[in-house]
């Protein structure tokens, strides 16, 4: 079976799952794939706002599951890319509105039409997380270079592996190279030491992200900022291109001179 359904999760909230889902989905669409991004956070929907499509929601995935509309009616087409769609979730229900088996059914329907289905998992490890992981062919875990975020990522990786959905691939988000150099922030190597998973992307802290979410325009549409480049590289790796990880310079030239290894 092709690996079409990709779930983006993290454990901890606020690390950048939704931004990652929106940008990776958009980047895949810009590479010519037919993509749908799916909001998994029932009751606290966010993917619509980050994508800037909030004004067009008429039906959502809960309406479809409960038989009030056809799947096509709930899908919102994003006109900024050739084949990019959003399947929003309900704002006025809670996580019990959908069961994991129903999520699997929804994704089975979507597989018929789409090349990639990217699911934005809610924070936590309860029902919402289980719903998001149940249909996954692969799981991407997003973490920040920060102790509690890495601890939560570890928990989530253990759970995903115990569900048989591993191995996961890791995205390190909001890395600040200067702070790693000053040893204020965990380095990529520190994180690998603890989590021991393959890294599929390193996204640096980028001012452009705030403006992009304010305006509802994912950064990859505007191209050149560091985060946009990183997200587009992640998309390329997902489709099988070999894009080497640009290791941010986290040892200073002085440290390298003295032979200190990272």
């Amino acid at each position: 079976m092709e690996e079409k359904v990709i779930t983006v999760t993290s454990g901890k909230g606020g690390v950048g799952k939704t931004t990652t889902t929106a940008n990776v989905g958009a980047a895949l669409a810009l590479l010519g794939r037919k993509v749908v991004v799916l909001d998994g956070d029932i009751g606290l929907r966010n993917l619509d706002i980050v994508m800037g499509l909030e004004n067009r929601i008429v039906y959502d995935v809960v309406d479809y599951v409960e038989g009030r509309c056809r799947l096509r009616q709930a899908l919102i087409r994003d006109k900024r890319a050739s084949e990019l769609y959003l399947l929003p979730t309900a704002q006025t229900r809670d996580k019990t509105a959908i069961a994991p088996e129903q999520m699997v059914q929804v994704c089975d329907e979507l597989r018929k039409e789409f090349d990639y289905i990217i699911i934005d998992s809610p924070a936590g490890i309860e029902r919402g997380f289980q719903n998001a992981v149940a249909p996954a062919d692969r799981v991407l875990v997003v973490t920040n270079p920060e102790v509690s975020s890495v601890r939560d990522a570890d928990r989530v990786i253990g759970l995903v592996e115990s569900y048989g959905k591993g191995p996961v691939q890791l995205i390190i988000n909001r890395l600040v190279a200067a702070r790693v150099r000053r040893q204020e922030m965990l380095s990529t190597q520190d994180i690998i030491d603890v989590l021991s998973t393959e890294i599929i992307g390193i996204v640096p802290e980028d001012e452009a992200i705030l403006a992009s979410s304010n305006r509802g325009t994912p950064v990859v549409f505007n191209g050149k900022s560091p985060a946009a480049i990183a997200y587009r590289d992640i998309a390329r790796r997902l489709i099988g291109e070999n894009v080497p990880l640009a290791q941010p310079q986290t040892t200073s030239w002085w440290q390298r001179l003295l032979g200190r290894t990272e």
């Binding site: 909030e54 004004n55 067009r56 929601i57 919102i76 704002q91 304010n214």
Partner: protein, 106 residues
């Protein structure tokens, strides 16, 4: 956002965010999905324009939220010179027949 950009009337991203937020929160509180308003507007325009001459382009349908209550607010400008009939509907001056027969067009 620098001085020149402001002068040229460009909105800062924070201002855009605030506007979007105000709109989305009103919809959240009223529990009406935003896209549904567009459908309501189409429905209202279709129904009302069967009876009265209205300025379709200027119709506004919105939701407000004040004092814990939500209101659907509809603003429909009427076109002047209307005699109460919508354009395109022929005046039927034919006398009523004693027996009711279904008319061909209605």
């Amino acid at each position: 956002m620098n001085f020149v950009e402001r002068l040229l009337g460009k909105r800062s991203s924070a201002e855009t965010a605030k506007q979007r937020l105000q709109l989305v929160l009103v919809h959240d509180r009223a529990e009406i999905p935003p896209g549904v308003l567009a459908l309501i507007k189409d429905d209202i325009v279709a129904v009302i324009s069967q009876r009265v001459n209205i300025d379709r382009e200027q119709v506004v349908v919105s939701v407000t939220h004040e004092d814990q209550a939500s209101r659907l607010v509809v603003d429909i400008p009427l076109l002047s010179g209307s005699d109460g009939r919508a354009p395109g509907r022929s005046l039927n001056n034919a006398p009523r027949s004693s027996r009711r027969t279904p008319s061909a067009s209605s």
